[in-house]
C-alpha cells in the first residue's frame, strides 16, 4: 500500500524552541537521541554518552527527552497537515503516516503531494510501499517505486533490532540487500520468527498486512462528563481508566490495538479527533491521550472522551509489537535472544486455569505464543487456598501411617481409615504428624480411566507442611508449602 511518511528532522530538538544556530542535544537513557545541526557540525552523533558529546562540543545545551512536550508541540504541525489530509496517523511525535493513494490522486501525483505537505509544515516526506520503506524514504525525501532496490544499500541497523544486527554484522552481512538475499528457511532456523519478519522487511515486504480474517467491529469506550472538565490532568485520569477498559476488552478477544482514534468534545461543540499508530497497550494509550489533551489545549471544558480501536492485530503482545513500556520491550528482546540460546521449548510464561491439583491449575505457555485468557474458577474438589509454593514436578512417594502403623486409606465415602500419625517421604526418616486435614476427594474421568484421588494437608513435627495425594493406595507428596 502506498504509504506517505512525513518526518520532522530532529523533532526532539526542534520542538525545544531554541534559536536555530544553537548546539543542542537531547538525551534519553543517558545517550544522545537527537542533535541540532550546529551540534552535529561539531561532531555530536546519535548514541554518544553525555560526557563525550559535551567534550566534542563545549557549550552544548543538553536536555532530557520530554515526550509529552514533543507531542504537545507536534500537534499544530499535525493540525496543519490534517487540514488537507484528514486521515493521517501519528506514529510518534515528529513522525506521521498516511495512505498516499487518495491524496496523491487529489493533488495530482505523489510528488505534488509531498510538495504540498512540505509547504504546509516543516516536514520531509517520503512515499513507498509500506511503513518501513516509507520511513526510510522520508529521511531522504524521495518517492520510491521499487522497495527492494531502494532498501538494499541500507545498513542492517535500520531494522532496529540491535542484537540481530550485531549478529548479522559478525556473520559478514552488513546491508539489507545481503540479508534479503539469504535463503528464508535458513533465516527462520537461525533467527526465529522475528528474524523472518526482519528479513521480510529487508526485502521490501510490508510489515502489517491488514489481517482481517474475521472483521472485528471497531471497539470503543466513551466517557461523558456531566460537568465539563477544565483540567487536563483530571480528564487524563478518566482517560486512563478508559484505556485500561479498552485494552482489557481487546485482550479478551485476543487482539491488540494497532490504530487508535482519540476523540474529545468540548462544551463549545469543538470536536477533536486524532489517529495514533502502533501496538498499544493500556499505558501507551493513556499516555497518548494525555499528550493529545496537552497538545490541543482546549478553550472550554471537555465533555466527552472516546477511545476507538480502529485496527487490531492478534497475537502475543510484546513479542510482536515490542511491548508498550521500555521494560516490556527490553524484556521481549532479551527473551527472544534467550529463546535462541535455549530453544523454543525452554522459556515460558504461565497462566492460571481451572483444575483440581496444584499442577493442573497452571498452564505453561512457551514464550512467543499468545497467552491464553483463561478464567481460573473455583473447582469443587480443588485443594484449598492458599496454594503451595513448591509444586513437585515429579510427586514424591510417601508413606502415611496411623497410630497402629497401618497405611491410611480413604473409604469410598471419603472418610479416612484413621488419623495420620507418621509420615515418611521417599523412603526417608519418619516424622510425626502434628496436624492434618482432609480429604478433599475428586473422582475424575469416570468415563474412562477412572482417577479417584484424595488430598490431605499434613503438618509434621519438623514444621514442614505438605499437600499429600492418595491414589490407588499409594501416597504421594504433590506439593510442599515451602
Amino acid at each position: 500500500m502506498r504509504t506517505l511518511v512525513a518526518w520532522a528532522p530532529d523533532w526532539p530538538v526542534a520542538s525545544a524552541g531554541f534559536p536555530p544556530d544553537t548546539a543542542v542535544a537531547v538525551l534519553a537513557d543517558r545517550r544522545v537521541v537527537a542533535a541540532s545541526e550546529a551540534a552535529r557540525r561539531e561532531g555530536v552523533r546519535l548514541g554518544l554518552r553525555r560526557r563525550e558529546a559535551e567534550s566534542r562540543c563545549p557549550g552544548l545545551v543538553v536536555l532530557e527527552r520530554d515526550l509529552a512536550a514533543e507531542a504537545r508541540a507536534f500537534e499544530p504541525v499535525v493540525a496543519a497537515v490534517a487540514a488537507f489530509c484528514p486521515r493521517l496517523a501519528i506514529i510518534r511525535p515528529g513522525l506521521l503516516a498516511l495512505d498516499a493513494r487518495g491524496p496523491a490522486r487529489y493533488f495530482g501525483g505523489e510528488e505534488a503531494l509531498c510538495r504540498r505537505i512540505a509547504d504546509a509544515a516543516p516536514l520531509r516526506c517520503g512515499i513507498a510501499d509500506g511503513h518501513f520503506a516509507a520511513t526510510l524514504a522520508a529521511r531522504q525525501g524521495v518517492v520510491v517505486q521499487d522497495n527492494r532496490t531502494f532498501l538494499a544499500p541500507f545498513g542492517v541497523e535500520v531494522l532496529e533490532r540491535p542484537e540481530l544486527a550485531d549478529l548479522l554484522r559478525r556473520l559478514g552481512i552488513h546491508t539489507l540487500g545481503a540479508f534479503a538475499d539469504l535463503p528464508t528457511a535458513s533465516v527462520i532456523a537461525r533467527f526465529g520468527a522475528d528474524g523472518a519478519r526482519a528479513q521480510a522487511l529487508a526485502r521490501g515486504e510490508e510489515d502489517h498486512p491488514l489481517r482481517t480474517e474475521a472483521p472485528v467491529e471497531a471497539l470503543a469506550r466513551t466517557t461523558v462528563f456531566d460537568d465539563p472538565v477544565d483540567r487536563v490532568d483530571v480528564a487524563a485520569l478518566a482517560g486512563r481508566s478508559l484505556a485500561t477498559d479498552l485494552a482489557e476488552a481487546l485482550a479478551d478477544r485476543g487482539v491488540v490495538c494497532s490504530l487508535l482514534r482519540i476523540e474529545a468534545e468540548t462544551e463549545h461543540g469543538e470536536s477533536l479527533s486524532r489517529l495514533w499508530r502502533g501496538g498499544l497497550g493500556p499505558d501507551a494509550m493513556a499516555e497518548r491521550l494525555r499528550w493529545q489533551l496537552d497538545g490541543w489545549a482546549p478553550t472550554a471544558g471537555i465533555t466527552l472522551l472516546r477511545l476507538v480501536a480502529e485496527e487490531v492485530v492478534g497475537g502475543s503482545q510484546p513479542a510482536l509489537w515490542g511491548g508498550t513500556s521500555a521494560a516490556d520491550r527490553r524484556a521481549a528482546r532479551g527473551l527472544d535472544r534467550l529463546r535462541g540460546i535455549l530453544g523454543p521449548d525452554a522459556v515460558f510464561t504461565a497462566a492460571l486455569r481451572g483444575g483440581r491439583g496444584p499442577a493442573d491449575r497452571v498452564v505453561l505457555v512457551p514464550w512467543g505464543e499468545p497467552r491464553p485468557r483463561l478464567q481460573p474458577a473455583p473447582w469443587p474438589g480443588c485443594h484449598p487456598q492458599p496454594a503451595p509454593a513448591m509444586v513437585h514436578p515429579n510427586p514424591l512417594r510417601a508413606e502415611v501411617t496411623d497410630a497402629d502403623g497401618e497405611p491410611v486409606a480413604v473409604s469410598a465415602r471419603g472418610s479416612p481409615s484413621g488419623a495420620p500419625e507418621r509420615l515418611s517421604v521417599d523412603g526417608g526418616p519418619w516424622s510425626d504428624v502434628v496436624a492434618w486435614s482432609g480429604p478433599w476427594t475428586s473422582d475424575e474421568r469416570w468415563w474412562g480411566e477412572r482417577r479417584r484421588r484424595a488430598r490431605f494437608q499434613i503438618l509434621t513435627s519438623d514444621r514442614v507442611a505438605h499437600l499429600c495425594l492418595l491414589e490407588r493406595g499409594q501416597w504421594w507428596i504433590e506439593a510442599t508449602y515451602d
Binding site: 540460546i341 522459556v347 496444584p358 492458599p386 486435614s437 515451602d482
Partner: protein, 180 residues
Amino acid sequence: MCSLHSVGMLTVVPPLQEILPDGGLRRGSVLCLSGAIGSTSLLLALLSGATAEGSWAAVVGLPGLGVEAAAGFGVALERLVLVPYPGTVWLEAVATLIDAIDLVAIGSSGRCRPNDARRLAARVRDRGAILLVPRAWPVSPDLSLEVSAPRWSGLDAGYGTLTRRRVTVRCAGERQLWLP
C-alpha cells in the same frame, strides 16, 4: 515507574519494607535467600511488589515453583518468565536475562563457580538488575535473608486448613513476618 529507575530501588510489599534495610530492593545487588523451609514463599513475596509495578521477573532452574502461589502473593503472571530446565548453558541464560530483566532468581539446581558468580555480580551491578540466589552461593552476597522457625496456624487434628504461618526472617538483625 520512572521514579523507580532514578532512585535505584524496586518496591516490595509493605511487610517486607520493614525487613529490608533499605526499605526496598536495591538495584545492582545480589540477595541470598536461605532457610530449610519457606524460602520459596519469601522469593514470591519479594517478586510481587516489583512485578505489580511493571518490572519483569525471571526464575531459572526452579521447576517446582508454584505459579498459583505466585499469583496468590500478587506476582503479575504476565511479567513472570520461567526457565525451569536451563540445562548446561544456565549461566549464559542467566546472563542474558540479567541484561533484559530487572529481577532474576536462580534455583538451587545450578552449581556455580566463584569466578562465574563474581562475573554475574558485576553484570548485575552494571545493568542495575537484582539477582536472587539460593543458599549454596560461592561468593558472599550483598544481602542475606534467612527464613526459619515457621509456626503454622489453621490446621488441626482432622479439620481446618493451613491458613498462614509466622516465620522469622533474619536479615542483619531478626524480624518477624506473617506468610500465607
